[in-house]
């Protein structure tokens, strides 16, 4: 079975992109937790969780996002989500008001631009 998560490290801006795909349920969560555990460190600029390829997402997944957010917040590392505008899972995010806690972008490009800007500012200083 294909892994439900792929981790991409960006050397240019120091961010990490975790791309989730398919149906994310109870059976997939431990694999995602382990992959994130391995990818997150003090050194990263922040994390983008890309949910563009996700068809099913449930309350356990939402719980995971809140946990990751809490963890990153302690180190002042931003967490951004990518959920395309028309995606059905947007409905779940709206129900739980996750946008009050986490920035949601419609595309990966838009989320990445946040880190490129930050990296640009840091380089200019």
């Amino acid at each position: 079975m294909k892994s439900p998560v792929e981790i991409l490290r960006r050397r240019d801006d120091g961010s990490v992109v975790a791309r989730l795909r398919g149906d994310i349920d109870m059976a997939q969560i431990p694999k995602i937790q382990a992959a994130l555990e391995a990818a997150l460190s003090n050194a990263i600029a922040g994390l983008i969780i890309d949910l563009s390829g996700v068809r099913y997402f449930d309350s356990l997944g939402i719980r995971l996002l809140f946990d990751v957010k809490k963890r990153l917040q302690q180190r002042r590392q931003p967490l951004l989500l990518v959920v395309p505008d028309g995606a059905p899972i947007r409905h779940i995010f709206a129900i739980v008001n996750i946008d009050h806690y986490v920035q949601i972008h419609g595309t990966l490009e838009s989320a990445r631009a946040v880190f490129s800007r930050t990296a640009g500012v840091a380089a200019a200083e």
């Binding site: 149906d23 349920d25 109870m26 059976a27 099913y56 449930d58 309350s59 356990l60 939402i62 719980r63 059905p88 409905h91 779940i92 129900i95 739980v96």
Partner: protein
């Protein structure tokens, strides 16, 4: 009298109450709902609600060995009725996702009942499909 035209095959599934069963349960449910005439939005919401109910069963119903998780569906006159049933005894500690799952379920169903009996717990959800309303 025309109601029989709108009815279609009932759904009957049984899986071991384990996380690995969720994927197969969703696949079967999606096919069944598509045949029942659910729109993509309805399909997404009903599958999501059933997923939460099944997860509850997996977390709460059986202490050690996973017993059966039963899903039954019927569609009559454009109204879908799905029952998620277990044969266990609910252990009370709330699931890891606590109130989040409940919020999702509440927002996406017209009607939901749950009752525990001696021989297990049953959750029943009802949802009127748009297709049914238009006929």
């Amino acid at each position: 009298v025309l109601s029989t035209v709108l009815s279609h095959e009932d759904l009957k599934l049984e899986f071991p109450a384990r996380p690995e069963s969720l994927d197969r349960a969703r696949s079967a449910l999606r096919i069944w709902l598509r045949d029942a005439g659910a729109t993509p939005e309805e399909l997404f919401e009903i599958v999501t609600v059933c997923g939460e109910l099944c997860m509850n069963t997996i977390v709460h119903a059986y202490a050690a060995d996973a017993g059966p998780l039963e899903i039954q569906g019927r569609c009559r006159d454009g109204e879908v009725e799905i029952t998620v049933r277990d044969r266990g005894r609910w252990c009370s500690p709330r699931g890891k996702s606590g109130g989040i799952g409940f919020s999702i379920v509440r927002a996406m169903t017209d009607c939901l009942f749950r009752h525990s009996k001696e021989d297990g717990t049953e959750a029943l959800l009802r949802r009127r499909l748009k297709r049914g309303a238009s006929r």
